[in-house]
Amino acid sequence: MKAESKKEIFKEGTVNSNEVISIRNLYMAFGENKVLNGFDFDLHRGENIVVLGKSGSGKSVLIKCIIGLLKPDKGSINVLGENVPELNTTDLDKMRVKVGFLFQSNALYDSMTVRENLEFPLRRHWINTSKMEVNNLVMEALTNVGLPHTVDMMPSELSGGMRKRVALARTLILKPEIILYDEPTTGLDPITGKEISNLMLEVQKKYNTSSIIISHDINCVKIVANRIVILIDGLCYATGTYVQLQNSKDKKVKQFFE
């Protein structure tokens, strides 16, 4: 359960071909503040992993390193066979087609309609896609999140939950193999939060995605997590299922479930 036992497995060199993300010995610091301090982690195909940790513990930094928005000081991040810190811009863009990222603030482009927001990643990656195909893909993604009627609306006209769904639709439009969720239910009421959590599960089943979910919302964690990783002091402190960690006697682990 604890990081030490997890590290032993790595020392034995267990390489699971089912792994879609494999992180080894990851270090990241901002000045004197060491955020990640030798973090190790694996994500398997079809798995939803929730990363729990205190605010400022480096959870968002971790997924930003995975997508290549931040460059770690040391360590390897193997995503679908590519070591992210070593990729050049072109290869990074190719890798990002397979990895979706749902931002905490949704990051919908304010000046564009919902349709234009969804078309934006499409037009960049699938240049030869016809207008009709693009329209079909946009409508399919919006239908999957239950919002086909918002296609010509501006993001400012949508509620918080709708914006989150549209952001998820934009993430799904390139049909990624992996989705990184940065606090997907933050700022939403409990009912909408539950709807988004259920939607994430539907997405996992329908698209067969593997996901890393950063969350503080224990209700969301309960619904979506196949496995939970607890990040403390820049290390993978503990890992296990919701029930295993909830019943843990370790004080540091227990505090997340109280």
């Binding site: 930003k64 990051a107 919908l108 482009y109 934006f120």
Partner: protein, 250 residues
């Protein structure tokens, strides 16, 4: 002083990246056209009204002095040179620094703090190319067009001003204006507006792109974009005057 030197260095580095990115494919034509429309079309009424009023006011205020010397017949000649060479381009640039510079600074600043720039990066689009190159190109091309329009409208204002107190016929006014204005008045005046446009675009983008501290930072970006780009307009204007003087174009 150290901070100012560091800031100048960072702005220079940011501007240097513009020249590297502009030659790389792919060029965002649609976004460039959209920015030209916003920057040009939306600034048009303000620039047009201000230029017309400036022409009117300068002519009305210059008239008494010229009358004192019995040189009121020189009024069209005098105002046309000062309007075309200096007043219209600088006023246009200052309006654009306020309107466009602050707009770009605030827009990119808010995109930065709401992670929209990161989202663009993640979706495989180079945000510098999509946001900065297109906006800087648009300001560089649209501000000279606005300045030419301001030149023309300020001369119309001058005609009205000349006729409020005195009587100058339409034909006489324009023949005097065109007799006075030569290429060495117009070409340097229009040329410097390309530099004004570039400076306004690059400063607005730099401030927005490097915005932080949440919504407070967005306001600061917009504010400092206006202050620095207005200051740069005056510095560039001073340089332009010196260069035209050295090249004997005055």
């Amino acid at each position: 002083m150290k901070d100012i030197i560091i800031e100048i260095g960072l702005i220079t580095k940011f501007a240097g990246r513009f020249f590297r990115e502009i030659i790389k494919p792919r060029f965002e034509f649609a976004e460039f056209a959209r920015q030209c429309y916003y920057i040009g079309n939306r600034s048009l009424p303000l620039v047009a009204i201000t230029a017309f009023i400036m022409g009117l006011v300068i002519t009305i205020q210059s008239r008494p002095t010229l009358v004192e010397f019995g040189a009121q017949a020189w009024l069209p000649k005098m105002v046309s040179v000062s309007l075309v060479r200096e007043i219209a381009p600088v006023i246009t640039a200052l309006i654009c620094a306020g309107k466009i510079g602050s707009g770009i600074g605030a827009e990119l600043g808010s995109m930065k703090v709401t992670e929209q720039i990161d989202a663009m990066d993640v979706s495989g689009t180079n945000p510098y190319k999509f946001l900065v190159v297109t906006r800087v190109m648009a300001t560089t091309f649209m501000i000279p067009i606005l300045a030419i329009l301001a030149d023309t409208l300020s001369l119309y204002g001058g005609y009205l001003g000349a006729n409020i107190r005195g009587v100058v016929s339409w034909d006489l006014y324009w023949s005097q204006v065109f007799d006075t204005l030569v290429y060495s008045d117009i070409v340097p005046s229009v040329t410097k507006t390309f530099f004004f446009g570039f400076a306004i675009g690059i400063i607005g983008c730099y401030k927005g792109f490097n915005s932080n501290k949440g919504t407070e930072g967005v306001g600061q970006s917009a504010n400092s974009a206006v202050v620095i780009s207005s200051l740069l307009v005056f510095i560039l204007d001073l340089l332009a005057v010196q260069i035209t003087d050295v090249l004997n174009l005055n």
